[in-house]
Structures are given as C-alpha cells and as structure tokens.
Amino acid sequence: MSRWPPETMERAHAIIARYPEKRSAVMPLLYLAQHLEGRLTDDGMRQVADLVDLTPAQVQSVASFYTMYKRDEVGTYLVSVCTSISCMLLGGEDVLAAIEDETGVRDGETRADGLVSVEHVECIGACGGAPAVQVNYELVEGVTPENGRKLCRWLLDGRPRVVLGDEMQELFGGQRSFDWGPVEREGAVGPVPAFGPYGTAEEIR
C-alpha cells in the first residue's frame, strides 16, 4: 500500500530503527517526506502516519507545530532572513526588504515560478554575524542589503542544485559569529535541512 519507492521505504525504516519507539521517528520522516516532494503534502503525512501507527490527524498536529515543515508551496530556494533582536539592531529588516525587492517575492510568499520563497525568521543563532540569512537552512552571516541582492541574483541565475553555506559565505558574507574552519562539501537540496541520516543532504563533487 506504500506510496513511497522501495529505497525510500528502506531509508524510512532505517530512520525508525534509530529510536527505541517508533513515534520518535515522526519528525525525521516528515523531513524525508518534504524532501521527496519539495513540501509536506497530505499524502506525505498519510504515509508517515502509516509508518509510525498514528492517524493522519495526529501527524498533522505534530507537523503543524513546527515552522520548518512547509505544508504550502515553497520554492526550490527558501531564503530566510533573521529579524530577531540582534539582527534587527544591525539592519536585518533592510536586508529583508532588499531581498524581497530583488526576488519580487514578499515576506512569506513563493514566486509563481516556484523557484524562490522569502520569509523572515526568528533568531537562527547567528547573532554574532548579524544580519544573518539562510538559504535552505545553509547559513550566510554578515549580509548587507547589497550582498543580499547579489545572493538572490546568484541563486536565480546560477540555479545551484546543491546549496553550500561556505560558498555563499565566501561570495556574499561578512562578519561571522566565529571562525568556521574548513570548507564543507555537504549541502542542501531543496527547502529541508541537509542531514545525512535523514537522506536530505548531498555532497557536491
């Protein structure tokens, strides 16, 4: 009855096996579902419900509690701009305005071509590198309004398949919360945090 392909089901069972109790796998499985379809669909939630023996209503209840499960249309690139206190003090709102203007997408909306969504977010733990921005949850710190625009143009023109934090920091970032050490090759594909065990991360060659 499963709607997911066998290899995905295998992944799902591997995720469930990480926990003493099935239900604990709900959040990772929701990420997997969102990764598969680009957003969290009703079918995705039904599938997760089957896997952990919950009703779809229970799964929806959990998913809707958290901000990172996107039940509405969301772009290939989710641009999140922090406007919490530290970023606000250093111009986060101007960065948001610049990015809205550059992409033509208002806060909380997705562009018709489905390429990009823009949202303001609460503190993402980059206060030392304010103002901070995330693309598919990969971080760029010390972003000026002008660099925010450049970042968007880079995304829309280059259409990188895998989004890499270090690359973006290199090109568009400034002040950092702390030194980041070496360049990582693992990044995000689509609006889901890139994490190996969940099958949502990808290496670039």
């Binding site: 009703d42 939630m45 929806q60």
Partner: protein, 809 residues
C-alpha cells in the same frame, strides 16, 4: 477505604483521600474552584490555567493549578486570596479577548461554563481593542458534529477524549500558539462512534450536534433521568424534551456503568420517538384485507375474538408470543403472564434465535459486573465486536487495558475495535471455534503467553457469539473453560436492550420470572399459587415458533415490539412462516414489516413515555422514566395486555406498571425487594444488581464444553452486526440513518485471489437462507477461508456457516 490526609482550604480543615487532586478534594469538601480543561474522567493537563490557587510552601505561597496538584498531608490552600482572584480574572479576560461573545445565537447559551464564570469571576468592560481571531464559522467535521473554532478556548477536552477514552484521535490541535485550532485531517471526517461525548464535554459552544443545533434553549427544556434504550449496557442518561419532542440525550455519570459517556447511537438514536410514522390509533384488518383505524374497544374485541377462535379450535398451545426484549420488565412480565397463565401456552421467546441459551444467560455463574473490569488483571473478550454492539462496554474494556494495565485477550474471526489495546489477538476461522478454544486452553505455540495470563486472576471474561452464524453452544464451551480458571467471572453478552430483563421475567420456554427454571416443578407450583395456572411442558423458542408457524402447528402469534421479518437472522424464513399464521396481533410503535402482516395492531407508548425498570448485561436493574405523553391514542403495553387478558377470561393484575412492579418484587425470586422506591430514592440510584440483598438465584446453570466439528466448506460465514444497522432506532432517525454502511462481501486478499476477485468486483454469495449479489471489500484482518457479511443491512442469506461464492462478470 484508601488512606486519608488533612488539608486546610481557606482556613477550614478537611479530611480527604491521600493523593487526590486538589480541585476534586476541594469540590468534595464544598469549595468549587473554577475550571475549563479539567474533566474528572480524564487525565489533568493544566492548560486553561483557570483553576489557579495558592498553596503554602517552603518559599511562601505558590500559585499552582489545583487540577494538577495532588493533596498531601498538612497542605494549606488559599482559593479566595486577592492573588488568586486576580489571576483567575486575568485568565478569564485572556479567554474572552478572542471569544466572539455570540451567546444569544449559541447552543450553549444558558448552560455555558465560560458564560457562567464570566458572570461570577469575570472582569467587566473589555480593554481589548484589537481585531479578534477569525476562523470560518461553524464547519461540519462529521455528519453529526459542527465545529466553531472562534468559540473554542483550546481546553483540549475533545482531543483528549478521542485519544485517551475512545481511542480514535481524528480531531487534534493544529498549528501552535495564538494560531492553535482544533481540526480534522483533510478528507478524514470525525467519524467516531463516540463523537457526541465531545459535544457534551465542550465547555463552550465550539462543538455542537447537528441534531440539536438551534432546537431549544436550556431553560425551555424539561428533563428526566433514565436508562438508554439502545443496548444492554444500560447507560444512565438525562432525557431532555421541549414541546412534547425529545430533543437530546445527555450522558449521566454513573460510576458502575457509563461513567458519563454514551455512544452516538444512544445519544442521537432518540429521533425515532418523534417520528411522524409513530402509530397513533389501533388498526384492524378489514374484510377488504386492508388495515383500518379502529377504536380501542373494537381493536381489543377483534384481537381477543380472533385469538379465542384459534384457542378453541387448535388449543392454547397453537398460540405463541415473541418479543419483550425492548420493553420494560413490567411489560415483559405481563406479556409472559398473559401467555403462560391466561392463554396457557409455553411457546414464548424474547430473543429471535439470534442470542444465547436463555438458561445460560439467566443462570451462569460466577457473574461479572462491568465494574469488575476496574480490578481485573486479565480480560478475555470472546464474543461480539464490543465497539459495534456494546459500545460503552467497549470503552470500559479499553480503559481496563489502556489505562489500568489489564492484559486483554481478544478472540474473533476478524479485527475488532479493541485489537489495538489488546495484548493478545487470536484469530480463528468462522466455524472453527472449538479448535481455537482447544488451542487456547492448551496454550499452543504463540498462545502460551495468553494462556498464562488467563491463570492470573482476577479474570473477567465477556463471552458471546462473535457472529450469528456461530453456534451458541460455542459460547457455553468457552464459559465452561473460563469457569475452570482461578478467580474468573463471566459476562455472557447479548445486545438487545432489555433482553436480560425480558428473560428474567420468564419470556422463554425454559424460564419463569425471577430466574427460575420452567422445568423446576417446585418453582412452577409456587408461581401457580400466584398466577392460578402456569403452562408447563417443553415450549418452543423463537426458532421453534417460526418452524411451528411454517408447519401449521402454530396459528396465533402475539408480537410485543418484535419484528421477526426484519430482525430475525433468517428474514426470508420468518416472512414465509408468518404468511401461514391465521392470527397475528402486534403491539408496537411503528407499522413494522411484521406488523403489516398483523390482523390487529396496537399503538404502544415507547421510551420516555412509560415508567418502569430494565435490566442490563450485568443484571443491574435500573429505572426508565416518563417525560412525554406519547402520540395519539397510544397506550402502555402493560395496560393493553391487561385489557386483552380480561377479554380472554380475566385480569392478570396488570392494572398499572407500578402494580406489576410490586408483583415482580414479590414473586420473582431474583427480584425480591427490588422496588421502584428503592431505585428512585434508596441505595438503588445506580441500579441494583440482581439477585439483590433480599433476592435469590434459584437457577444454577452449568455450561458444558461441547466439541463442535469444524465446518468443512471452502468458505465459512462470519455474520456480524455493525452499530448503525437497519434496526428501528437507526432507520427511523434522520441523523443516524445516513450513517449505516453499504453491505458488502468482505474477503481476505488471499481468498479473493483464489476466486479471482478484487475490491469492488461483483460477486454472488449464497448461504443456507438465500443469496445476494454484492461487491467485494478486501480485509486482511479476516481469518483465511472466512467471509464477513454485515448483518441487518438489508441483505439476508441465512445463518448457515457454509457459503458459496462466485464471481460475476
């Protein structure tokens, strides 16, 4: 009696049970702390924050929610301090800022905890000038329930009920914080058998029942406490009416039975009482062959006259009586007395060949009460799917397993509602019950653990027929096995509302009133002293009566609220038999299929229109009470029977229900001393389990294990009921009628494959009593080789175990 501690509330000392929640302890000692989310039958969550009180601690007074705080010795509590008052007023203001305050158009208006507490604790004018929270106004979340999210105060009572009590979490919180709402999942309605309870426990008007919306204001309602007429659990209810129409049933919290809950069939099944199809006048079949309205005198004369002819020509035992299982004990008693004594026939039955051996039901011991489930360490359910047939008993078993930690063993040919909380689920092929019992008692293979659990008393075993095709002897074999277990009690399970009472009143060839055996000469003799005469000998039960009719041996039939042509397991056979009868007299609320065949039809008063007693599955006698006059010229069954008796040779003393009740309390051994007064005003408010203190149990029935050879056919039949069947209460009430499912042939996928059919393929299924053309549903919970067919959804193929299936193209 549990240990007690002393606490001080607002300066007064009280003795309360240790560990009890403060909010309850306070209430029981006279201090009411306002609350919204707390419900005595559910775990506390401390969410609404309305029940804040101050408790003195090492670091001074602390504000805490009294619904989450267990009392301990020496606890000092303040419920009226300025701090408490301010906090409670604050919470109330917070609840109101986003509340629409549309009380004038709200069903809850007048009985709304939020409204009431705003009056007594709330702040006056609103300091909130912002725009209120908005949601789409009431949306239907099922055929029975509407949800208004703007009124919701997010106490989570409804969602907790579904998860904790009924086990079907179909409504849940969605989103969070200020945007939190209660909602279903898209395309998955709140189709729970227990949804009505959420309407009753909603502290505001957020959840409303389509059946009741805008029908009345609380202050226009008259109410009386009574007992639900829909199944043998006998839940306590409050019947509420206005302008001679029943408008709603509410659950009343009775510790030993329903603990406040009702199933939706019970809650919404009242509509049939208001039906325009209710009989208003007696009907008599005229020369033209049609039924015509008549006066009571004409009808009674006609009925008595035509019966007398049969009795003269063929003798008294050419007359038989069916029914009584939906009547009061008083009506059932009068019916039995009329048949056995005044007419003098031993052929009478309250069941329709769809139950269990009457002596087994009335006499098996040791008997379990529903409340024994609270203490059971192991529960065995080998009988009907309780969720479909005895829903509130299902809730109690569910609680025993899920909340109280009992080991639950469920034995059935198909998945039941309890499987998800069962420790052991045993499947067997319909017809192979004996084999399954052998395997269980031997603890074969994976049944070892289940067998071991059964050795852990106290054991409560709910035993009945899993389906109508299953021989009733199996239940007795199971009972025989259970009686051998240490510290085990039995609850024989049949469904029809007052069937236990009717049998206790002697409506069976093998029983006399008060659980005496009809074959016990002494018992017959002492009853004869009261009644004058008592027909003895071996009478016919429902099956025999129907055969007798078909064979022309029985010619006259009295029906007391019975509709064999609709309700008998083999409707075709019943119909054919009734054609042969020369006289049929029906006492009923409706012109049922069977009543249409009658020569005389008497319109009877029904539930909420008569006073009397009923007896539930555990032998608990409870009152049903009168609130309404009833339609047209309808009369009490008791009086109709008395008038018939007088025309057939003399009174049976049934001048009134109360008179009959007095006679029962005097002559029926198990019912001795069980008087209306005791039930209304005495220790009997929660009912009295018979035999009561003054009563005795003359009949001691010892079930014996019989080995029933397994059916050999390739496919065997599992014929079982669903809650919303085509019974009168459902069919004649608009709310429930639309809920009964489409009949279908349910097959295990493997069997479907063997027959080359799949979901929705048309098939012809033929059994002992006919055939039907239906579509297929796949059900991998079925034992292989078993076909499940829902009973009483308009298809009848007889009750023989062996069936044949052919695919149709």
């Amino acid at each position: 009696m549990s240990e007690r501690v002393t606490i001080t509330i607002d300066g007064r000392e009280h003795e309360v049970p240790a560990g009890e929640l403060l909010i309850k302890a306070a209430q029981d000692t006279g201090t009411y702390v306002p609350r919204f989310c707390w419900h005595p039958r559910m775990k506390p969550v401390g969410m609404c924050r309305m029940c804040l009180v101050e408790v003195e601690g090492p670091r001074g007074r602390m504000l805490t929610t009294s619904c989450t705080m267990p009392v301990n010795d020496g606890m000092v509590v303040h419920t009226e301090s300025d701090v408490v008052k301010k906090a409670q007023e604050g919470v109330l203001e917070f609840l109101l800022i986003n509340h629409p305050l549309d009380c004038p158009v709200c069903d809850r208006g007048g009985e709304c905890p939020l409204q009431d507490q705003t009056m007594s604790y709330g702040p006056g004018e609103s300091r909130f000038v912002e725009e209120k929270r908005h949601f789409e106004k009431p949306i239907p979340i099922s055929d029975l329930v509407m949800l208004d999210r703007e009124r919701c105060i997010l106490c989570a009572r409804c969602t907790r009920f579904c998860e904790e009590i009924s086990g079907d979490p179909l409504i849940e919180f969605k989103d969070r914080g200020n945007g939190t709402q209660v909602l279903t999942f898209p395309g998955e309605p709140f189709s729970s058998y227990f949804s009505g309870n959420t309407v009753q426990i909603c502290p505001v008007g957020a959840l409303t029942a389509t059946a009741y919306r805008f029908r009345a204001r609380p202050w226009d309602l008259e109410a009386v406490e009574s007992t639900c007429p829909h199944c043998s659990v006998g839940c306590r209810i409050s019947v509420q009416a206005s302008q001679n129409q029943v408008l709603r049933f509410l659950g009343v919290d009775s510790e030993p039975t329903n603990q406040g809950w009702l199933c939706d069939k019970g809650r919404f099944g009242f509509e049939y009482l208001n039906s325009s199809e209710r009989l208003q006048m007696p009907l008599v079949r005229g020369a033209d062959g049609g039924l015509h309205e008549a006066t009571w005198a004409e009808a009674l004369d006609a009925a008595a006259g035509r019966l007398a002819v049969v009795i003269d020509q063929k003798g008294a035992d050419a007359v038989a009586g069916l029914g009584g299982a939906r009547s009061t004990n008083e009506a059932a008693y009068a019916f039995g007395k009329l048949l056995r004594s005044r007419i003098g026939t031993p052929h009478l039955d309250a069941q329709l060949d769809d139950g269990l051996d009457p002596q087994f039901l009335a006499g098996v011991e040791p008997r379990a009460t529903i409340d024994d489930l609270e203490r059971a360490s192991t529960v065995l359910v080998w009988g009907p799917d309780l969720k479909e047939e005895l829903p509130v008993l299902y809730l109690r078993v569910r609680r025993a397993a899920a909340e109280l930690g009992a080991t639950l063993i469920v034995v059935n040919p198909r998945a039941t509602g309890l499987d998800d909380v069962a420790t052991h689920v045993v499947r067997y092929r319909a017809g192979d019950g004996s084999g399954a019992l052998r395997r269980l008692s031997a603890g074969d293979g994976e049944l070892a653990a289940a067998r071991a659990a059964l050795a852990e008393g106290p054991v409560v075993a709910i035993v009945g027929r899993t389906g109508l095709a299953e021989p009733s002897a199996l239940a007795e074999s199971v009972a025989a096995f259970v009686r051998e277990l240490p510290d085990a009690r039995l609850m024989p399970a049949v469904r029809r509302s007052n069937v236990y009472g009717a049998l206790d009143m002697g409506l069976s060839p093998s029983l006399l009133p008060g659980r005496a055996s009809a074959f016990d000469d002494a018992a017959r003799a002492s009853l004869a002293e009261q009644w004058g005469s008592v027909a003895g000998g071996s009478g016919r039960g429902a099956g025999g009566i129907i055969e007798g009719l078909a064979a022309g041996l029985i010619d006259g039939l009295l029906l007391l609220g019975a509709d064999p042509m609709q309700d008998a397991p083999d409707t075709a056979r019943a119909a054919a038999a009734m054609q042969r009868a020369s006289v049929v007299i029906a006492i009923d609320l409706f012109l049922t299929a069977s009543a249409e065949q009658a020569d005389v039809v008497f319109p009877a008063l029904g539930f909420a229109e008569v006073e009397g007693t009923v007896t539930n599955i555990e032998g608990r006698v409870q009152k049903v009470n009168r609130l309404l006059p009833g339609p047209g010229q309808a009369r009490e069954a008791v009086e109709i029977l008395e008038d018939l008796a007088r025309r057939l040779g003399g009174s049976i003393g049934a001048t009134s229900a109360e008179a009959v009740a007095k006679e029962i309390a005097a002559v029926a051994p198990a019912y001795r001393g069980v008087t209306w007064d005791l039930l209304d005003w005495g220790d009997g408010r929660d009912g009295i389990v018979v035999p009561g203190p003054e009563g005795s149990q003359p009949l001691g029935f010892v079930p014996v294990a019989r080995d029933i050879p397994a059916a050999s056919a390739d496919l065997t039949l599992h014929l079982a009921r669903t809650l919303y069947d085509h019974g009168t209460a459902v069919r004649r009430g608009p709310s429930l009628a639309k809920l009964s499912p489409e009949p279908a042939v349910h097959l295990h996928p493997d069997d479907a494959r063997r027959y080359g059919v799949g979901t929705d393929s048309p098939v012809r299924i033929s059994g002992s009593g006919g055939e039907a053309e239906l579509t297929v549903r796949l059900d991998d919970s079925l034992a292989r080789g078993t076909v499940y067919l829902p009973f009483n959804l308009g298809v009848s193929i007889g009750t023989g175990l062996e069936v044949r299936l052919e695919a149709m193209s």
